[in-house]
C-alpha cells in the first residue's frame, strides 16, 4: 500500500539518522521474558560469551545468583565486577557497584534484573537509574526484565495473577531501549522447570509463587509480553515508513486523587494514550480544605502525580472547591477530548443522595467530551477516604471577635426594644435577630461566634420579648424552630465566610507567586553579568522559600564555582556547601536531572539540586536547602518556574558575552589588516628606491660622484627601513591586547641620553638640546620602547625642520606623571591632519606625497607604546612661532624600588 503521497518524510528520516549517529550514548539491549525462569539471564550470558570471543570488552556488572547450574557455568570466563557490599539493618547485602563500573568503562556491561530497587545508601534508588547513568557514559548495557515489571502493565498483571509486583520500571525506559530480545518458551516447559526446582530453590518456594505459576497465568502473561513486543515492532515500522499521523487531536485527561484507584486510572490512561499516540494530562484539584489533609493522603497524591509524570503525562494542579467545575474549565481551555475518572463504590448516604455524581456533572458541563469510568474495585479491603475533620481548626477564641459579637447582639436587642416601642410586630424582631446572627458570622472568624450568637439571640429573644417577659420560658411552640433556623443561618454564613476567606488567601498567594515571577523576570532582564544574575537568583530563592540557596556555575577552568546565600535564621545552613553537597551538584551537572533531598537520586543530601538547562546544555545548578524540611509539590513547581527564568537570563548573558568577544576579535583583525596594508605600502617605496639605485649602478657606467650619490641614497633608504622594522619589532614586544607592557624602573635621563645619542649618530651636526630634571627621576617603563618613541619623535622633528633649526627635548615631572616633550621649530603640523595624526589607516588619497613617510607608522607605534604604558600622548603646534610640540606622559608609581628589578623582564 505504498501511496506515492505517503513517501517517507525526509525530516523524519534525518531524525532517525541523527539518532543512529548519536553514539555518545550507550545502547541498551533488554532480554525480555514473561516470567522468571524463561532463560533471559542464560541468553544474556550466552551472547556475552560470543562478544568476548570476538574481542569485545565485556564486563559482568551484576548477575543474580541463579539456581540453574547451566546459567552459572556461562559466567565462567567472563570478567566479573565485584559487587558493592552494603549493610542494611544489620544484614550485608550485595549491590551493583555503579561507581566502579563507570570508572572501569567497559564497552558492554551486563546488569541483571533491571527493575531491582537498590538498598538505601546507594546512590540511586532504582537499578534502572544506574543503567541510565551507564548509558549516558557511553557504555552499552545488556539487561533482563519481565513483563510484570513494566509500569503501565503492573495492574493488569496484578489482576491476572493476584500477585502484587512492586518493583517496576517506567515505560519510557523500556520503549527507548535500542534492542529488545524476546525470550519465549512454552508455558508447559516453564511449569516443568518450575516443578523441577530449576527456577527457584524448592525450599524457597512460597504458596504465592505456586499461585503465580499456573498454566492460565503463564499463558496470559505470555500473551501480554508478546503483544508488547508486537506493539513495539508495529510502532517502529510506522515510524520508518513515515506513516505516523496523529489521530486528529485526541488529548486525554485523568483526575488524580489520593486513592489507589487513581493509580489504576493513571496506568490505564497511559496505556490508552500510548495506543492512540495521544498526549495526556494528569490533573489534581486542590480544594480549600486540602491543607488539612493528613500527611498520608498528601503523600499518595504526590506519589500518584509522580507516577503519572513517569509514565509521560503533563501534570497540572488546579484549585477550586467544585472539582467538576474546575476540571470542566480546564478541559475547555486545553482542548481535552477524553476524561478518565475512577469510581469507587460509595455507600449511598443521605448526603450523596442529593448530590449528582461527579461523572454526571462532568457530562452535564461538557457534553462533547468522552468520559471513561474505571471501576475502582480492588481485591482486599475497600478504600475508605478518611473522614475529614472539620472541627479543631476553626474553633478558636479571640477577644476582638467576642466584643464584636456582644456589641452586635446588644445593638440588636436595643433596636428590637425600639421596634416594640413603635409597635412593630414580633416577627420583625425575630428577623432582626436573624440578621444580627448573619452579621456576626460575617464579621467574625470561625463557627464559634456564629453559633454562640444564634444561641444568645434565641435566649435574648426569649428573655426580652416573649411573654412572660424577662423569663426564659418558651411558651410558643415555634421558638425551637426559630432557634434551629437561626442556628442553620449562622452555620451557613460562617461556612461561606470561611470559604471566601480561604479563597482570598489562596488567590492572594497565587497572585503573590505570579508577581514574584514577574519581578524576577524584570530584574533578570535588567541584570548584566553572570554574577549579578546569580546574586539576584539567590536573593529571590531565599526570600521566597525561606531557605538558604546555593547557585553553581561553570567556572572558566571547567570546575564548579558556587555562590551561596544563607537564609538568616536557618541553622546548619552552611552544611549546604560541604564537599558532599558539591558532589551532588556535580552529578546534577553531568546528568541534567534533579537530585538530592526528596528525589530518587542521592536522597541523603541536605539540599535539593536542580539543573538550569537551556537548549540541552546545563548552564548551572540551583540548590535549595532542605535541612529543615522537604519542599512540597507546589514549591517544587514554583522552583522550576524560577529556574527556567534564570536559564533564559543566563543564556542571554552568555550569548551577549560571546558576541562581544567576536566583536573585539573582529576589531583586532581589522586593525591588524590595516596595519599590514600601511606597512606594505610604506615598505614598497624605499625598496623600489634601493633596487632602482643598485641596478642603475650595476647596469650603467657612471662617474664616481653620481655613483656615490646613488649609494648614499641606498644607505638612506635602508636606514629608514631599519628604523621602520625596529618600530614594528617594538610593537611585538607589547602584549597581545596592547594593554600591558613589562615595566622596570629606569632613569629617565639614561633613556633620553641613549635616544639622543642614536639620533646624533644618524644626523650629525643637528642641534639637539636636552633638558632633564636635576634630581634623579625614575619611571617604570620598558626602556627600549620609550627610547623608540623618543627616537621616532626626534626623527620627525629633524625631518620636518631645517638644517640649523634646533630640536628641544624636555623632561619634567608633574602630578604623578613624567612628561616628555619634543619640540621643533620647523613648519609645524598642517591643521587638517592633526586629528588623525596617530592613526596609520587613513586612506591614501588624504596623505600627501611627502607626508606618507615617517608620519604614518612611526606615530602610530608611539601611540601604541604610550598607551600600553597607560600614558597619554598629544601633539599640537606651538602657540608662538613655528613648530610643533609632541608631548607624552607616563604614570609614575609611588615607590620605584628593587622589587621591580627582580621581576626579570624578558626584554
Amino acid at each position: 500500500m505504498t501511496d506515492v503521497d505517503r513517501r517517507p518524510d525526509p525530516d523524519v528520516l534525518l531524525a532517525t539518522l541523527g539518532k543512529k549517529e548519536d553514539r555518545a550514548k550507550g545502547e541498551l539491549k533488554i532480554f525480555f521474558g514473561y516470567a522468571a525462569g524463561v532463560g533471559k539471564t542464560y541468553a544474556m550470558l550466552d551472547e556475552a560469551g560470543e562478544l568476548l570471543k570476538n574481542g569485545v570488552d565485556v564486563l559482568v556488572g551484576y548477575v543474580e545468583p541463579h539456581t540453574r547450574p547451566e546459567t552459572m557455568e556461562l559466567m565462567e570466563g567472563l570478567p566479573v565486577l565485584s559487587p558493592l557490599s552494603v549493610s542494611y539493618k544489620n544484614i550485608r547485602l550485595q549491590e551493583f557497584d555503579l561507581a566502579s563500573a563507570l570508572e572501569r568503562k567497559p564497552e558492554v556491561i551486563l546488569v541483571d534484573e533491571l527493575a531491582h530497587s537498590n538498598v538505601e545508601g546507594v546512590r540511586n534508588r532504582k537499578r534502572y537509574q544506574d543503567v541510565e547513568e551507564l548509558l549516558n557514559a557511553g557504555i552499552d548495557v545488556y539487561t533482563t526484565v519481565n513483563v510484570q515489571h513494566i509500569e503501565s502493565l503492573n495492574d493488569v498483571v496484578r489482576d491476572i495473577t493476584n500477585v502484587n509486583v512492586f518493583e517496576t520500571i517506567p515505560d519510557y525506559f523500556f520503549d527507548h531501549a535500542e534492542k529488545i530480545k524476546l525470550i519465549d518458551i512454552e508455558p508447559d516447559e516453564l511449569l516443568r522447570r518450575f516443578e523441577g526446582g530449576k527456577v527457584y530453590r524448592p525450599e524457597r518456594v512460597a504458596t504465592a509463587l505456586h499461585n503465580f505459576f499456573t498454566y492460565e497465568n503463564l499463558c496470559l502473561l505470555r500473551e501480554l509480553a508478546v503483544r508488547k513486543i508486537a506493539d513495539r515492532i508495529s510502532h517502529e515500522n510506522m515510524n520508518e515508513r513515515g506513516l505516523t499521523e496523529k489521530p486528529a487531536g485526541i488529548k486525554m485527561l485523568v483526575c488524580v486523587g489520593p486513592s489507589p484507584s487513581s493509580a489504576k486510572c493513571i496506568r490505564w490512561t497511559a496505556r490508552t494514550a500510548e495506543a492512540f499516540r495521544a498526549p495526556w494530562v494528569a490533573v489534581h484539584v486542590e480544594r480549600m480544605d486540602d491543607e488539612r489533609l493528613p500527611e498520608g493522603e498528601r503523600k499518595s497524591i504526590r506519589a500518584n502525580l509522580d507516577l503519572a509524570e513517569r509514565l509521560g503525562a503533563e501534570i497540572a494542579t488546579l484549585n477550586g472547591d467544585d472539582i467538576a467545575a474546575v476540571v470542566a474549565e480546564y478541559v475547555k481551555l486545553s482542548g481535552v477530548t477524553n476524561i478518565v475518572v475512577g469510581k469507587g463504590r460509595n455507600k449511598r448516604t443521605l448526603k450523596n443522595f442529593y448530590e449528582k455524581d461527579f461523572e454526571d456533572r462532568l457530562i452535564a458541563l461538557l457534553p462533547n467530551v468522552e468520559v471513561h469510568i474505571i471501576p475502582g474495585r480492588l481485591p482486599g479491603k475497600t478504600y475508605r477516604p478518611p473522614r475529614r475533620r472539620y472541627m479543631g481548626r476553626d474553633f478558636f477564641f479571640s477577644w476582638w471577635d467576642f466584643l464584636k459579637t456582644v456589641f452586635l447582639l446588644t445593638a440588636a436587642t436595643l433596636l428590637s426594644t425600639g421596634f416594640r416601642a413603635f409597635g412593630i410586630g414580633d416577627h420583625n424582631i425575630i428577623m432582626l435577630y436573624i440578621l444580627s446572627v448573619l452579621v456576626v458570622s460575617r464579621v467574625t472568624d470561625g463557627y464559634f461566634y456564629g453559633i454562640v450568637a444564634s444561641i444568645a439571640s434565641v435566649l435574648a429573644f426569649n428573655f426580652f420579648f416573649t411573654v412572660p417577659y424577662f423569663t426564659f420560658y418558651t411558651i410558643q411552640p415555634g421558638y425551637p424552630v426559630t432557634f434551629v433556623i437561626m442556628l442553620v443561618v449562622a452555620l451557613i454564613t460562617s461556612a461561606l465566610t470561611l470559604r471566601i476567606k480561604a479563597q482570598m488567601r489562596y488567590a492572594v498567594e497565587r497572585v503573590h507567586r505570579v508577581e514574584v515571577l514577574y519581578e524576577i523576570n524584570k530584574k533578570l532582564l535588567a541584570a548584566r553579568g553572570i554574577e549579578n544574575i546569580v546574586s539576584i537568583a539567590n536573593e529571590y530563592l531565599v526570600k521566597i522559600f525561606n531557605r538558604s540557596a546555593v547557585f553553581y556555575t561553570l567556572g572558566s577552568d571547567g570546575s564548579l564555582a558556587g555562590s551561596f546565600l544563607k537564609y538568616p535564621s536557618e541553622a546548619r545552613a552552611s552544611s549546604l556547601i560541604l564537599d558532599e553537597e558539591r558532589a551532588v551538584a556535580h552529578w546534577v551537572f553531568t546528568n541534567q536531572k534533579h537530585a538530592g533531598a526528596g528525589t530518587d537520586t542521592l536522597m541523603g543530601a541536605r539540599g535539593l539540586y536542580i539543573p538550569v538547562v537551556s537548549q540541552g546544555k546545563v548552564l548551572g545548578v540551583i540548590g535549595v536547602s532542605c535541612v529543615e524540611g522537604l519542599l512540597d509539590q507546589g514549591g517544587r513547581l514554583f522552583l522550576s518556574a524560577i529556574t527556567s527564568q534564570v536559564a533564559m537570563a543566563l543564556e542571554r548573558q552568555l550569548l551577549s558575552d560571546e558576541q562581544r568577544k567576536m566583536t573585539i576579535s573582529s576589531e583586532k583583525e581589522k586593525m591588524r589588516s590595516n596595519l599590514l596594508r600601511a606597512i606594505s605600502h610604506d615598505l614598497r617605496t624605499p625598496l623600489t628606491g634601493i633596487w632602482g639605485a643598485s641596478s642603475t649602478i650595476l647596469e650603467n657606467d657612471l662617474d664616481i660622484s653620481t655613483r656615490n650619490k646613488l649609494i648614499a641614497h641606498i644607505r638612506e633608504e635602508s636606514q629608514w627601513l631599519i628604523r621602520m622594522v625596529e618600530n614594528l619589532l617594538s610593537v611585538t614586544r607589547i602584549n597581545e591586547d596592547a594593554t600591558s607592557v613589562i615595566k622596570t624602573c629606569e632613569a629617565v635621563e639614561e633613556v633620553v641620553a641613549e635616544a639622543v645619542g642614536r639620533i646624533r649618530k644618524r644626523f650629525p651636526g643637528r642641534k639637539i638640546a636636552v633638558k632633564a630634571p636635576d634630581e634623579l627621576l625614575m619611571v617604570p617603563m620598558d626602556g627600549t620602547l620609550v627610547e623608540q618613541v623618543l627616537i621616532n619623535l626626534m626623527e620627525n622633528a629633524v625631518n620636518h625642520s631645517s638644517e640649523d633649526a634646533k630640536v628641544e627635548v624636555k623632561i619634567y615631572k608633574n602630578e604623578g606623571y613624567a612628561f616628555f616633550e619634543v619640540i621643533d621649530s620647523g613648519e609645524g603640523i598642517p591643521e587638517e591632519i592633526l586629528p588623525n595624526l596617530f592613526e596609520s589607516y587613513i586612506p591614501d588619497a588624504r596623505r600627501g606625497a611627502d607626508s606618507s613617510r615617517g608620519m604614518g607608522i612611526g606615530l602610530t607605534v608611539c601611540m601604541t607604546i604610550v598607551k600600553a604604558h597607560r600614558g597619554k600622548m598629544e601633539a599640537f603646534n606651538k602657540s608662538e612661532g613655528h613648530g610643533a610640540v609632541f608631548r607624552f606622559m607616563l604614570p609614575l608609581k609611588e615607590r620605584c624600588d628593587d622589587a621591580d628589578q627582580t621581576a626579570d623582564p624578558d626584554r
Partner: protein, 242 residues
C-alpha cells in the same frame, strides 16, 4: 717592515653581513677567517689563535651563548658578540659569561673598529696591566689621578664619595668597554647584593658632579638594559664616536 696583521675570526651565518665585515676589516689591516657554524669556532680558535672573535649570537647550529662558554673554558681571546637590537637579555647574558663587548646590527665602520680596538686593548689578559702601568687617566676634560685619588674636570677638582670614585675608576680602567650592571655591582658592593637602584643613583650623582647634562652624558654612556661604558675618544665638538 710589514706590520703583523692581527687576525680576526668572524662567526656569522649571513653571507652579506659577513662579507661587508670582512671588507671593513681587510681594508683596515686585519686578517680575517670566516665561519658560519658555531661548532667550528672552537676548533678554528684553537688552530689559528685569532686575536679577536666576532661572534654572532644567532648562529643556526649552536646557541651563541654555548659557543661562548666553550671558548671561555680555555681561552681569554677577546670576544665581541654581534646581536640584534632588541635582545638585551642575550647581550647581558653573553657579557656575564665572558664576552668583552657587543655590537648591534646594523653598525657602521667606525663603531666596529672602535669596539675592536677597545676589546683588544682591554682583553682579559691585559686588564691589570692597563691599570698597573698608568698613574693617571684622561679623556676629554676629565682626568683622574689614581695615586692621589683625585678627579678633575677642566682643571677643577670634583669631590666624589668613595663609592662614586670606585665606580669611576672601574669604568676608566675598562675605558671603551661596556660593563654590565651586575659586573659593576659585584665589583663595588660584592657578590651577594642587588643594588641596582644605588648604582643608578650613584651614576646620576657622578654625572652631575662631572657637570654633565645628565641627558647628554659625554663621559659615561648608558646602554639601556645592559650597563655603562666610559667613552674612549671624544671629538672636538663634543660628539662621541663610540
Amino acid at each position: 717592515m710589514t706590520q703583523i696583521k692581527q687576525l680576526i675570526l668572524i662567526a656569522e651565518d649571513e653571507e652579506s653581513i659577513c662579507s661587508f665585515i670582512s671588507a671593513i676589516l681587510e681594508a683596515n689591516n686585519f686578517k680575517v677567517i670566516k665561519t658560519a657554524k658555531g661548532g667550528e669556532v672552537v676548533a678554528l680558535t684553537a688552530s689559528h689563535c685569532p686575536d679577536l672573535i666576532l661572534l654572532d649570537l644567532g648562529l643556526p647550529d649552536m646557541d651563541g651563548v654555548e659557543v661562548l662558554k666553550a671558548i671561555r673554558a680555555w681561552t681569554d681571546t677577546p670576544v665581541i658578540v654581534v646581536s640584534a637590537r632588541v635582545h638585551e637579555r642575550e647581550k647581558v647574558e653573553a657579557l656575564d659569561l665572558g664576552a668583552d663587548d657587543y655590537i648591534t646590527k646594523p653598525f657602521g665602520t667606525g663603531e666596529l673598529l672602535a669596539r675592536i680596538r677597545t676589546a683588544m686593548r682591554h682583553g682579559r689578559g691585559n686588564a691589570n696591566e692597563t691599570r698597573g702601568t698608568m698613574d693617571t687617566f684622561a679623556v676629554g676634560d676629565l682626568s683622574i689621578d689614581y695615586e692621589k685619588r683625585r678627579v678633575f674636570v677642566a682643571g677643577k677638582e670634583v669631590r666624589l664619595t668613595p663609592i662614586e670614585y670606585k665606580i669611576l675608576v672601574l669604568l676608566s680602567t675598562h675605558v671603551g668597554k661596556v660593563l654590565t650592571h651586575d659586573f659593576i655591582i659585584k665589583k663595588i658592593w660584592g657578590p651577594y647584593t642587588n643594588e641596582i637602584q644605588s648604582l643608578r643613583v650613584n651614576m646620576a650623582n657622578i654625572r652631575r658632579k662631572l657637570r654633565e647634562n645628565p641627558a647628554e652624558p659625554n663621559y659615561i654612556v648608558t646602554e639601556i638594559g645592559v650597563g655603562y661604558r666610559m667613552v674612549e675618544e671624544m671629538e672636538s665638538d663634543g660628539i662621541r664616536t663610540v
